[in-house]
Amino acid sequence: MIRGGKRRQREFEKVALPYLEAVYQFAHSLTRDATAAEDLVQETFLHGFRSFARFEPGTNCKAWLFRICKNCFIDKFREKRRRPAHQEIALAEPAAHDSPHDVAMFERNSIENEEIFLDLFGDEVNRFVHELPEDFRQALLLCDLQALTYEEIAGVLEIPIGTVRSRISRARSFLRERLEGYAREYGYLKEPRR
């Protein structure tokens, strides 16, 4: 039985440990604290190990671990940290309501060279990301940094897939507006064309 336990441990480590860094990034985005994130990661992998029998091979292990991580965070960390409750920041409506002149800076013709475009921004990207309400931020980061599908994000955050779609769209619009405002402030961008 001891050998069985070791074998199960090795199997779990083989499947789950490659996502250690991803889980840490996700845990850090939840806790915003390195020490708390470490604790959360350890708790996540322990819970994952205990429920490894319920993991379905062939499904996305990373999404499975993220969901465990999120639940661990809710169970153990959120109560301690008592961060401000859901922030009702007014986000832009989905991109469908944007008009073309709102996207000037991001047009290919505005800044042709993408490397130059990317170099215009530094840590303000992260600052603006952290201004996002948590629910929107998580959906956006899971999509753009962790490459989860909308369905997997819906599973991790336990929200309908339509809500995922809406949050990602609105979060990107918010982010783009803030970046444009920054670029205009520093003269990287002319006033929008009318």
């Binding site: 070791k6 250690l20 956006l140």
Partner: protein, 269 residues
């Protein structure tokens, strides 16, 4: 597809969430609509900007080691718990305590227990085993039979001091609807047998190596070594053990059996 519909799909198209038909329609619209094409490009650049610029927190170098260590502890604990949860081992452990008490009493009291030749027990059991219509149909029948016929304790008296007893083999047998473990011992070339009767399905001894039975051997503080086996709950309990001096087949009566179980932790029953 109009502009409104196209822009509703811009994020999904970028994220690879559109099915091929919708994606084709979306691309066709962008080819014909410069404003929507610029909008789609802005979405792509925002996504890329986030990918390039998002801060990746450095993973603490000790984190992987810490996680592996916690998993190892968990695996070891789970293995330990699984042994503790094994009902036959728990019962054996409980009976070991009982056996230790019995041996202690027998060792230190001058009054010899009522001894019955183990070969008689063996013969009786073997006869029952050969009987097509076994009289031992219900849980407890065999234990009751043993108890009624041989009293509380059966002992093989032919063993002398300092004689070695070696476990030479074992097999599973059944008596009526009861399961039993037939242990064979060798004592200076003479074969001995004892039976351990189980009230429930016999544990998976076929998965155990013979040496696993050796783990049932216990050195008592008084210098005796016993080999003990387990019991039944529903029926009578049979405990066999041998020491360097004597070989016992101990049949628990109901009272003692109930005492043993009454003192078990409820979670171990």
């Amino acid at each position: 597809m109009n502009c409104h519909e196209a822009m509703m799909l811009a994020h999904e198209a970028l994220d690879g969430e559109l099915e091929s038909i919708a994606l084709e329609s979306f691309k066709e619209h962008l080819a014909d609509c410069d404003a929507c094409a610029r909008q789609a490009e802005s979405v792509r650049r925002t996504k890329k900007l986030l990918w390039v610029k998002a801060r990746r927190e450095p993973v603490p170098p000790q984190l992987e080691r810490r996680v592996r260590a916690s998993l190892a502890r968990e695996a070891a604990q789970a293995s330990k718990d699984s042994w503790v949860r094994a009902p036959w081992l728990r019962a054996a452990a409980a009976l070991l305590v009982a056996a230790a008490v019995v041996l202690f009493v027998m060792h230190w009291t001058s009054e010899e227990p009522a001894l019955v030749h183990a070969e008689i027990v063996h013969e009786s059991l073997a006869k029952a085993h050969r009987t097509p219509a076994s009289p031992f149909k219900k849980p407890g029948d065999l234990g009751r039979h043993l108890f009624d016929n041989f009293g509380r304790t059966a002992c093989y008296p032919g063993l002398q001091q300092n004689q070695d007893i070696q476990l030479s083999g074992w097999c599973e047998e059944s008596f009526g609807d009861r399961n039993a473990l037939h242990l064979r011992y060798d004592c200076k070339g003479k074969a001995l047998s004892c039976f351990v009767i189980f009230g429930d399905v016999i544990p998976k001894f076929d998965t155990l190596e013979q040496k696993a039975l050796g783990s049932h051997m216990k050195q008592l503080p008084n210098g005796k070594t016993i080999c003990y086996c387990t019991c039944s709950r529903e029926g009578r309990t049979v405990l066999c053990y041998h020491s360097s001096k004597q070989h016992f087949v101990l049949v628990f009566d109901r009272e003692l059996e109930e005492t043993v179980y009454a003192n078990l932790d409820p979670t171990l029953r």
